[in-house]
Amino acid sequence: MIDLQGFGAQLAAGTLMTVEIALAALALGLLLGLGGAAAKLSRFRALRLIGGLYTTLVRGVPELLVVLIVFFGASLAVQGVARWFGYDGYVEVSPFVAGVIALGLAFGAYATEVFRGAFQAVPPGQIEAAMAVGMSRRLTFLRIRLPQVWRFALPGLGNLFLVLLKDTALVSVIGLDELMRKSTIAVSYTKEPFTFYLAAAFIYLAMTAVSMIGLHYLERRSSRGVRRAAP
């Protein structure tokens, strides 16, 4: 087996950090995705424009650059806002926050498209039926559309989560002690790049495999009671 030369505990700590940042970015990304989809499907032109700008910008720029721009830009931006409100200290945006924001932004941009597709996948007949029984727009949204969006969006969101899990490696460039950075530190100490990068690869694979099993379970759960055509 692979000899980790005492760095096992460090890799484990890094793995935990990777999971934490992935879950935090997932939460932020889901919110941004829902918001983005709502904006893109909005009746207001300005909102649609903002939604379109967000997805185009973030999806067209490398995630590595997004991470770096947020890391260097966020503190300055937050500080600017704080100044504006008359607060004159410094506001710290830690690598963790910067990483979560950057990865959440990236996830949200793609999730916007997934949610938009899912909203539109709800059959128009159901919407018409809801209106015919006198439901308001809001009630239709809450009772008919939203519950089904989850099921339609899940496969797409699952793929995005797998992408997100791997993108966490990029946060190593801003000094967050996640799996990739811990591996790099181990390499510089032991001079065994192959050993540690391979170990990291297998840990990422394991995380991917666990996520895939979880997603499969969620997908089965979310489509309970859905009638399938006989094969």
Partner: protein, 230 residues
Amino acid sequence: MNLEVMIDSIPRLLDGALVTIQLVALALAIGIVLAVPFAVMRVSRRWWLSGPVYGYVFFFRGTPLLVQIFLVYYGLSQFEAVRQGLLWPLLREPYWCAIIAFSLNTAAYTTEIIRGGILGVPHGEIEAARALGMSKFLLYRRIVLPGAFRLALPAYGNEIIFMLKGSALASTITLLDLTGVARTIIARTYMPIELFAMAGIIYLILTFFIVQAIRAAEHRLSPQTRPPPS
């Protein structure tokens, strides 16, 4: 924001963009050459053909590209045998290490995309071809693969953009691609936001052209969906 620094940096950034385009184009070309036979193997009913491809695809889609690049560049050179081996003149160069890692990565994703396309080709077309007595090879060449490519094109367009964005990681192994040039300029000017924003704009422009090219290709490859000429 220091506009002067941003504008002054454009010529050097464009040099870097050229390296980025080269890397991406070469990796995509190699990737597709690998992916077509892999996809055909992947849909095979023989486990010894589909199994290894499944493992390969799982590994490259399940690990970060950054890990893959570091494994090829720093990892392989850990071994004396590699450093004395036939491939060392190639593996010695960061450029080729990036090409190897990118090609293997994109080939894995492309294999899945083409597999999806193959599975999407209507059964009727395949049965009809069989009924005409086409050999397996001819069947793939004339019916299955052309249909698969057409179906796979939108997904492959996304893959091109992912590869373009992933290529920013070449900067971590000393290459002066678009991101690498930006980082080198930042090392002297200490203006990360200005330079990364400028690089980001160039990436956006490249993405825009790719999207246009894919649209044009889709239009060309799908004559049956166009309205008839009037």
